[in-house]
Amino acid sequence: MTTYIIRRILMTIPILIGISIISFGIMQFAPGEPTALDLDPNISPEDREEQLDEMGLNDPIPVQYVRWAGNILQGELGTSFITNRDVGSMIWERLPNTLVLMISSTIMTMIVAIPIGIISAMRQYSARDYVFTFASFIGVSIPNFWLGLMLIIFLSVQLSLFPVGGVGTLGGDFDILDRLHHLFLPALVLATADMAQMTRYTRTSMLEVKNQDYIRTARAKGFKERRVVYKHGLRNALMPLITMFGLLLPTFIGGSVVVEQIFTWPGIGHLFLESTFQRDYPVIMALTMFGAGLVVVGNLIADILYAIVDPRIEY
């Protein structure tokens, strides 16, 4: 097991290198100079060159890449062009917000999708199944941002049921209820599409399991339906979903850009968007790497979990 984990971790290295090359490469292709917003337009070309030299922007590209990658490895993500702050700490202070959002969405997704998926599958072709199926189709078809805006307008602005945005009421002490109150809508919006997807997956997975021979065996042993479904079916049906969650991670991160934007949620998605608009390259590169790293790690964890949970996997 340990060797499996180690090998699995080693396998992510080429992926991370590939990711870093692409992140870096895109910035190189970007037209114009990253310093456009930062330099005094009035300085002379010589000064400008000097400054570029100073920032290392005139070195050969591979040299720049190696320097950048080396810095990243040392946890030096650089300094933002715009805020002049350490990129690492900029990400770090936003990260908890995004994680809170993503984790609660994940929990929401599971709480809703798994039971509904099971009910749908167990009562395939029933009225309930059709309703849930239809609802999940709506869930995947509705644009995320659209849903978010509609909810803000109706629930927050007009009915004042939820706050318009932000992570909590300003001032005052940490108040868990207030936090949850602020969290609910963004997490819901972020979760919607995945909830719908996940419901479908659970349903499919459960349908597949439902027809397996060992389920028939369990029935033939005289177990009650509940036991058959939840003890013998569910565990098998849920296993592929672990991998699914790994694969959904990128969509969560993607969704967070939109959701954080709508709900003024100060997370990394929001930071990313801001930085792209400001051409804050160190932040963009660091975040792209970071996001990809998160996905890689997420998949790694999913794989390892899967290996732990599924006795059939041998190392």
Binding site: Y4, R7, R8, M11, D303, A307, I313, E314, Y315
Partner: protein, 341 residues
């Protein structure tokens, strides 16, 4: 007492002694790399076929039996050059084909054909019977004229007992037995000299099985075919083959004419195998059965010495260390076992 409806004339395929071999495998080995884990690293080799010698004579039907996973299909497919042999030599019609490149095998493909076990997965579900049969003709440039081609297809279909009007149908519209006939027609359409039949009837219902066996039998006479007939059902092999080879875990245990083999099996494995076959009449129940203990070892990690020694009732010390060689213990009966040394 109900008798047979009709009894056909006794037929015997004459086997001329010393007749030339059409297919020979010498020291043939096929090892598959074992890739484990998500990493797919090669961590070992499945020795699916680990040095077998088989010579199939022209016009005969050579049966290959053995338990599941002993390497029968692999041997057949390697002989067909669907797999690259790991070691050893394959000679077809006097020509060494073991190292030929795929494109140089083109001509061989006409001469040697294959019938597959699963009538469901061996037919392309998106192609009609007609196009399936026409394709090899086109590729091999036979019957350039479309009408000739059509005629040929109809002829072959008629021959295997398919209504020629079915040319435009898809496989799913046929029953298992009919599909197997399509598979046979496909093998026949190029008029090969030899057919490797990999468990052609084991997926079929009993009553259908006999139809197909009879058909194969008839075709052999008609086209002077040679069969390498792979099966795990010993009754079927016995019925169908002239000579039989018994495989165990990638090795040949025994090769003999069928009567010799069934009347007087020499290898302990053959003996156990034959004794395990359910009798076809309840009165025969009384016979003694040799029950093998233990499980079939994995070909990825075969036992040392004689591969059968872990389950052999007559195991000796020598068996654990030395691999027994094939030797002719009785005329035309070859056995690989230390008991006969």
């Amino acid at each position: 007492m109900v008798n047979n409806i009709e009894v056909l004339e006794n037929e015997q395929h004459e086997i001329v002694p010393g007749q030339e071999n059409i297919l020979e495998m010498q020291e043939l080995k096929k090892h598959f790399p074992v890739k484990t884990g998500v990493l797919q690293r090669t961590t070992g080799h499945v020795k699916a076929v680990d040095g077998i010698d088989i010579a199939v004579k022209k016009g005969e039907s050579f049966g290959l039996v053995g338990e599941s996973g002993c390497g029968k299909s692999t041997a057949g497919r390697t002989a067909m050059r669907l797999y690259e042999p790991t070691e050893g030599q394959i000679t077809f019609d006097g020509e060494d084909i073991s190292r030929k490149k795929e494109k140089d095998l083109f001509n061989l493909r006409r001469e040697m054909q294959m019938i597959f076990q699963d009538p469901f997965s061996s037919l392309n579900p998106r192609k009609t019977v007609g196009s399936m049969l026409a394709e090899p003709l086109k590729v091999h440039g036979l019957y350039k004229n479309q009408n000739e081609r059509k005629e040929k297809i109809q002829e072959v279909m008629g021959r295997v007992g398919l209504n020629p009007s079915f040319t435009n149908r898809y496989p799913h519209e046929f029953s298992g037995g009919q599909r197997q006939r399509i598979g046979i027609a496909r093998a026949l359409v190029l008029e090969p000299k030899m057919i490797i039949a990999d468990e052609p009837v084991s997926a079929l219902d009993v009553s259908i099985q006999s139809q197909v066996l009879n058909l194969l039998d008839d075709l052999q006479d008609e086209f002077n075919l040679t069969y390498l007939f792979i099966a795990h059902d010993l009754s079927v092999v016995k019925h169908f083959s002239d000579r039989i080879g018994v495989m165990y875990l990638g090795h040949m245990a025994e090769i003999a004419d069928k009567t010799d083999l069934y009347d007087d099996p020499l290898h302990p494995y053959t003996q156990a195998l034959l004794s395990a076959v359910p009798r076809s009449h309840p009165r025969e129940r009384t016979r003694e059965r040799i029950t093998l203990t233990g499980e079939l070892p994995s070909p990825a990690n075969p036992p040392s010495g004689c591969v059968f020694h872990t389950r052999c009732p007559h195991v000796m010390d020598v068996c654990k260390e030395i691999v027994p060689q094939m030797r002719e213990v009785k005329p035309n009966q070859y056995v690989a076992c230390h008991l006969y040394e």
